[in-house]
Symmetry: C2
Subunit: 462 residues, 2 copies
C-alpha cells in the first residue's frame, strides 16, 4: 500500500507540490464515505502512504472521522496510528473497543505503542493493556515506567545485539535466520558478557567485510550511549551534534536495553524548536488539533499573567496623571516607547533562547553574548532615537522630541539587556528559558519605557 | 580521534551533562595555547569528536581563534569545518590561504564543501575554487549553480547505484572492491539504462538476502524521489513525513544525480523551526555568532517598520486628546487593552504559523482552524473582560470597568481572527507567513484596541 513515488511535478491528483493532500481529493474521499460508496473510498485511499492516511483522518472534520475509519477498514493499520497527530489519535482511540486498540499495538514497535498509549486516560490505558499479548504488554509497561519525554519512552526494544566473539559470517547468518526482525536498523551492537555494549558496526562496514573476520576487529569501540533516563531534548541534541542515525540506550547499570533511531528524533527536534516559538508567545502546546478547551486553558493562563504585569505599567502611568492631564499628547506618544522596547527585547530574547536550546551559549561565551547584545542594542537604540526624535521635533515640539529620543534609547538598551539576561538567569536556576522569559522582559520594557518617558517629560516640560 | 563514549554521568572532565564543553576545559585549552604549550593543547583536544572541536573554536573569543586553529594543526580537519557554525567558519576561512582551504575541501563530501564555500564573498570563493582538484571543483561548481537552499545544494554526489540485472553477490563484491567509498550510506539505489532510479534496497535487506538473488527481486520499487530544485524546507518535511533515512535526488530529466541523508536534514529541520521563532520576533538570522553589524542591520529594519506602525496607534490616540485631557486615568488603562490584544494575537499567530510550516493546515481544514481560533478567542476574551472589568469597577469606577471590559473582549476577538487570518492570507499569496505577520497583527490589535477603548469611553463618559 505504500506508493510514494513522486513524479517531478507531483501531479498525481492526490498531493500538491508540498506533499499535502489536495482539498479536492480529501473532499472526494469524504463524499464517497458519506454516500456509502465504501469500495470507491478504499480504492481512492489504497495508493496512500500510511503518513498520508493519517493526514487524511486529521484533515477530516471530527464528526466524520469515525465513519471514515470504519469505511477504510484495513487501510487504517498500525502504521497509520503511529503517524497520526497525538490529539487526533487520542480522540479516535478513546472511542475504540480496547481489544481492537490492543490488536493494533501488536504490529507496532515498542516506541510507537508507548506513544499511542501514554496520553490516554488511566482507565482507557489499562483496558487496552489488559487486552495485549503478555510479551508486548510487559515491554510497554516497562517503557511507561520511565518518566515522560525520556529516552526510555522513545526507544524501541527491537535491535540486533551480538557477542563480540562472533565473526561477520555468523552475524549475517543470524540476521538471515530471524525473519521476525524489522528492516529498520542501520547498525549492529556488539555486547560483552553482562550485555554491556562494547562496540558498534555500521551495516555498510559489515557488508564490505569478509565473512571470516571477527566482529571485534571491525567494530567501532567509540560510540554514543544514551542513558535511559535522559531527557528527549538532550537525546535530540546529541543525535544532531554527532550526526547519529541510531544509538544504543543503556540502563543505570550499563546494560543495553534499547535503541533509538533518527526517524523518531526528527519529530522531537521539530517539536522542541516549535515549542520555543510557541512558549515565547504563550500559546502552550499550540497544536491546531488540540481541543478548544485545552487551548483555552493554556492560553488564558498566560493572558491573565500578562494582565497582572500590564497593571504594573498602568500603576507607573497613573503616577503621572497630572502631567498627562496637562499635556495629553504624551499619552499618544508613550505607546511608541513601550512597543519598540518590547520588540527589541523580544528580538534579543528569541536569539538567546534558541542559542541556549541548541547548546551554543555556555559559560564560555556568556559574557561575550551579553556584550554583543549590548552593542546591537546601542546601535538600534541610537538609530531609532534619532529618527523618532527628529520626526517628533519637526512635527510636534523639539523638547518632546529630545525627551522621547532619550527615553527610547534608554528603553531599547534596557530591552536588549533584559532579553539576554532573563533567559540566561532562568537557565542558570534550572528553569526553561523560553517559558517565562517574555513576561519578565515585556514587564521590564513596559514599565521602564513609561517611567523614562513620562518621568523625563515631567521633569523637563512642566 | 573520535571518542564520544559517554559515561552514564558524562564525568569525563570535558563535557557537562548536556554534552556542552565545560567552561573550565575551554579555558584550559585557551590558556595552553596562549602560554605556547602547543603539545598540551593538542593533547587536551585529541579525544574530542570533530563536532566538539568545532564547538571549541566557536566558544573561543574571535581574537583567539586564529592562534587556537594554528596550534591545533591537524586536529582541525575537514570534519571540524563541516561541523562549524557558518558565521564562525566564514570568518576563519576568509583569513585562510586559499590553497589550504582548497585542500580541506578535498576530504569533504560535496554537500559539506558547498556549505563551506557558498556564503563566502565571490572573490574568496573563486580563489579557493581555483586551487581545488578539477574533479572536486566541477562537482562543487555544479552544486553552486543550483539556487541556494535547494536539494541541489545539500545533496552529496557520493552514493551507490547499481544496474538492475546484478544479483546481491555482485552488489556486495562491488561495494567491497571500492575502498574509496564513504561508510555513511544506508541504502543502495538501483538504476535503469538512462541512470533513472528504478528501485532501492535497504542495506539490512541486502545483508539478509542470499548472494544469487537478483537485486531486482528484493528492491522496493516505490521510493521517494527528490527533485534537484526542491526547496530544502520541503525536502525536510518530506523526510519527516515519510520517515526517510536517505533519498535519491533526480534532475529534471529524471536521472539520479545525488543523495540526501537524514543527518543533513536534521540541521535543516532545526533551522527552519528556529527561523519561525526568530522571524516572528523580527530577529532576522538570529545566530549568536552572527557579526554585530549584520544583527543590527536585520533587527533595526524591523524596529523601524514597527515605528511606522506604532505611529498609526499614536494617530488614533491623538484623536482622543481632549478626552484624555479630561480623564487622564484612561491613558493609564489603555496600554492594558493593547498589550492583551497583542498577546492574544501573537498566540494565535504562533500556532497558525507552525501549523502552516508543518503542513498541518491546508485548504481542507482552513475554515475549521478559523472557527477554532474564534472560539478560543471568545473564551479568552470573556474571561479576561470579566476579571478586568470587575477589578476596574471595584477599585476605580463601574462605568470605566464596563467600557474596558467591552473594549478588551472586542480586541481579543479581533486579535484571534487577525492571528489566524493574516498568516493564512500571506501564505495564499505566496509570502512567508512568519516574516511579516506580527507587524500586521500588532498593528491591528494596537489600533483597534485604542480605538475601541477611547471611542467607547468618549461616547459613554463625556
Amino acid at each position: 500500500m505504500t506508493d510514494t513515488t513522486t513524479l517531478p511535478e507531483s501531479q498525481d491528483g492526490i498531493h500538491d507540490e508540498e506533499d499535502r493532500l489536495l482539498p479536492r481529493y480529501v473532499r472526494e474521499v469524504l463524499d464517497a464515505v458519506e454516500g456509502g460508496q465504501i469500495d470507491k473510498a478504499r480504492e481512492l485511499v489504497e495508493p496512500l502512504h500510511p503518513a498520508d492516511v493519517a493526514d487524511l483522518i486529521e484533515l477530516a472534520p471530527e464528526d466524520d472521522r469515525p465513519d471514515l475509519i470504519t469505511a477504510l477498514g484495513g487501510e487504517v493499520d498500525a502504521d497509520v496510528y503511529a503517524e497520526m497527530n497525538e490529539h487526533v489519535r487520542e480522540l479516535v482511540i478513546e472511542e475504540m473497543d480496547p481489544a481492537i486498540a490492543a490488536s493494533l499495538t501488536a504490529d507496532m514497535e515498542t516506541d510507537d505503542a508507548v506513544a499511542m498509549l501514554e496520553d490516554l486516560e488511566e482507565e482507557d490505558q489499562q483496558a487496552i493493556l489488559e487486552e495485549m499479548e503478555p510479551d508486548d504488554r510487559v515491554a510497554v509497561e516497562e517503557a511507561l515506567a520511565y518518566p515522560e519525554e525520556t529516552a526510555g519512552r522513545i526507544m524501541q526494544r527491537e535491535l540486533i545485539a551480538v557477542p563480540e566473539h562472533w565473526n561477520v559470517g555468523k552475524v549475517i547468518d543470524y540476521m538471515r535466520s530471524d525473519q521476525e526482525l524489522a528492516d529498520d536498523f542501520w547498525e549492529v551492537f556488539v555486547v560483552g558478557p553482562q550485555h554491556h555494549p562494547v562496540g558498534t558496526t555500521k551495516l555498510s562496514t559489515l557488508l564490505r567485510t569478509k565473512r571470516d573476520v571477527p566482529i571485534r576487529d571491525i567494530m567501532q569501540e567509540e560510540q554514543t550511549l544514551i542513558p535511559v533516563e535522559m531527557d528527549q531534548e538532550e537525546v535530540a541534541l546529541r543525535f544532531q551534534k554527532y550526526g547519529l542515525i541510531s544509538a544504543a540506550v543503556i540502563d543505570p547499570s550499563g546494560r543495553l536495553v534499547g535503541m533509538i533511531t533518527v526517524d523518531d528524533i526528527v519529530h522531537i527536534i521539530e517539536e522542541e524548536a516549535s515549542e520555543d516559538a510557541l512558549l515565547l508567545s504563550g500559546a502552550g502546546d499550540g497544536d491546531i488539533n488540540e481541543p478548544v478547551r485545552e487551548a483555552y486553558r493554556d492560553r488564558v493562563r498566560w493572558l491573565i499573567a500578562n494582565l497582572g504585569t500590564a497593571l504594573l505599567a498602568t500603576f507607573v502611568i497613573a503616577q503621572f496623571e497630572s502631567t498627562i492631564a496637562r499635556l495629553a499628547i504624551l499619552a499618544a506618544l508613550m505607546p511608541i516607547v513601550a512597543a519598540l522596547g518590547g520588540n527589541a527585547g523580544t528580538q534579543a530574547l528569541a536569539v538567546t533562547v534558541r542559542a541556549i536550546a541548541t547548546n551554543q551559549l555556555t559559560g564560555s561565551n556568556r559574557a561575550r553574548a551579553i556584550r554583543r547584545e549590548l552593542k546591537v542594542a546601542i546601535l538600534n537604540g541610537v538609530t531609532v532615537a534619532v529618527i523618532l526624535g527628529i520626526g517628533v521635533a519637526i512635527f510636534l515640539d523639539p523638547i518632546i522630541g529630545a525627551v522621547i529620543a532619550a527615553a527610547i534609547l534608554f528603553n531599547i538598551v534596557v530591552a536588549g539587556l533584559a532579553g539576554v539576561l532573563v533567559p540566561i538567569t532562568l537557565e542558570r536556576f534550572g528553569a526553561d528559558p523560553a517559558v517565562a522569559s517574555s513576561v519578565f522582559v515585556t514587564t521590564v520594557t513596559d514599565t521602564m519605557g513609561f517611567l523614562a518617558f513620562l518621568g523625563l517629560a515631567s521633569a523637563v516640560l512642566l
